[in-house]
Symmetry: C2
Subunit: 338 residues, 2 copies
């Protein structure tokens, strides 16, 4: 209304223009000062950076990302359920390694998978999307491909053009487990599975069945759980009740194995490993705890993440390269439960 009223304008974020004015140079000079390998007088650069520091200026990454076509440095990470320790542990490594590549992880998922969230994040011009474990709605995959956003999948294989996957060789892992159980003298062996809608479970199950057959054995039972401790416990209760004769148990992941061991000891009067051998899958940190010392199949996280980063870099460098599937070899880790 009247010019006497100074607008109580909240001091906006310092921009390159502010720095330019204060330093007596052009906006472009400021931009150059923050970019390696650009023509700019050595002294001038120093003085600009000084002024910028005084003012508390830092380039707006949003504006930069908008400008740089196809290099927003934003990477969406759709994590599996963080209640699964494997997912939590691998997420930490993933975040760390993405930063090494200069990427910023936008993390979604972690519990109940909200499909709208993962579609919503596509609103950002992502450099890539990482799908960790879990069931990935097909629609999401379609949208990513339509938007030409590179997809790196881990924990399952998605053999499609433009999608790279890295996944444990689950069948081999199951074979190793059966081999170890047989070597321990077990013959009446059962499988305690995870969520049947996930390929990891299907592959481990198939590997188990095949290895048993190869060993001339018939599975005593094939159960399914949900990859959780509680699920493992309740399924193990039924399993040990209905089939008290079993002497070996291969579980689809470590959490279920721990649940099963708890039930065996507390409710079924079965000592592990004396009267029952149990082998898990993944080798989460807890499995290494001396008090637990779970025999398991290592699903190597460091190697998995390394390969994911390798695939990511390769695809970013050449978006049209053929899609790749990398299988990580598992390893049997002998501890105290078999």
């Amino acid at each position: 209304m009247s010019p006497s009223q100074p607008p109580p304008t909240r001091p906006h974020r310092v921009t390159a223009a502010d720095v330019a004015k204060k330093a007596g140079v052009s906006r472009s000079a400021v931009s150059r000062a923050f970019t390696e390998g650009t023509y700019l007088d050595k002294e001038k650069r120093v003085s600009i950076l000084q002024v910028a520091a005084d003012l508390g200026y830092r380039p707006n990454a949003l504006a930069a990302g908008l400008q740089a076509q196809g290099r927003s440095n934003l990477v969406a990470v759709v994590t599996g359920d963080l209640a699964n320790h494997y997912d939590g542990e691998i997420l930490a490594k993933l975040i760390h390694r993405l930063r090494d590549l200069g990427k910023w992880p936008m993390v979604i998922g972690g519990g109940e998978m909200t499909e709208s969230d993962v579609l919503g994040v596509l609103g950002f011009p992502l450099d890539a999307m990482i799908l960790r474990g879990g069931s990935v709605p097909d629609q999401v995959v379609e949208e990513c491909l339509k938007l030409q956003i590179p997809l790196i999948v881990s924990g399952r294989v998605l053999d499609r053009p433009g999608v790279d996957s890295v996944c444990c060789d689950n069948e081999t892992g199951a074979e190793l487990a059966v081999g170890a159980l047989v070597a321990a003298g077990r013959r009446r062996i059962a499988y305690l599975g995870g969520r049947q809608d996930l390929t990891s479970d299907r592959e481990r199950r198939a590997g188990f069945v095949a290895a048993m057959a190869a060993a001339g054995l018939t599975p005593v039972a094939l159960f399914s759980g949900d990859y959780s401790f509680d699920g493992g416990a309740s399924q193990a209760r039924q399993l040990l009740t209905q089939h008290p004769q079993i002497d070996g148990l291969f579980c689809a992941n470590d959490a279920m194995a721990l649940g099963a061991i708890a039930i065996a000891g507390q409710e079924c009067d079965r000592k592990v490993p004396e009267s029952l051998s149990v082998i898990g899958f993944d080798d989460i940190a807890m499995a290494r705890w001396p008090a637990i010392a779970l025999s398991t199949i290592r699903n190597d996280m460091d190697e998995t993440v390394s390969q994911m980063m390798r695939l990511l870099s390769a695809r970013l460098a050449d978006p049209d390269s053929p899609s790749r599937v990398i299988r990580i070899p598992p390893e049997f880790i002998a501890r105290n439960t078999h």
Copy 2:
């Protein structure tokens, strides 16, 4: 060189302009079609959305965030070490609740805390930054305040203008633990602490000391660990060796309590709770596992996250409101280890 060579231009992301042209409307009409509560002919909106869907268009969130001053919907989350289950569990809830608010979480930290990462993320015009646990470099706090970025701190209290905190009432928690140990008939009680550089440990320690004094008891020992299972185990080994007479142990978090219980049973021939009571802190999911059934002090995650979201919303609505500190009341959860 010659116009006969069609440039092998990688099809760019579909923009509002593309949709506008195809639909025969203006760019603004397209923008309006995607914004609730704008003037736009019903039919026209439908047809625009139809064309957009055909083309696979979705508004570029970067451009939108650049435009909307102070509403990028980006929130940086600096998480504590995900090897601590408490941090993992709360991160999952945090991500979920932030999405409910329409915010996108950029997650950093999770393991080795890289200070440059947390400074680097300030390049984005964040709506807010969430600091979860751990030690927060002062420089980070300064930069945030300088940039006028709201800071929500959890797991410690940072009583400064513009910073809101929500934190468990650690002293009361320690009192509850001592009370429970005393009620269980324990008198020779020790404290197995976490990282002394963290306020959570200092408060729990202080609360322990005060409660012991109030009960007319003298602590047998005050040890320090690192909040990890392994750290708890090795400290407990020393503790039980040097002070075999102790009959009660209050641990600074659940992980250390589990480590201590493991050592007690496996190496020191002390049955829990028969000859040694152990109480943890946090009430992580594992503490509830029947096989573990850890008596502990609940550090309510749902309530913590709810309050964080409340503080966040309030600060976003009024950036100048006085900073607030919310203390979450702890609760003793009696299970099988005391």
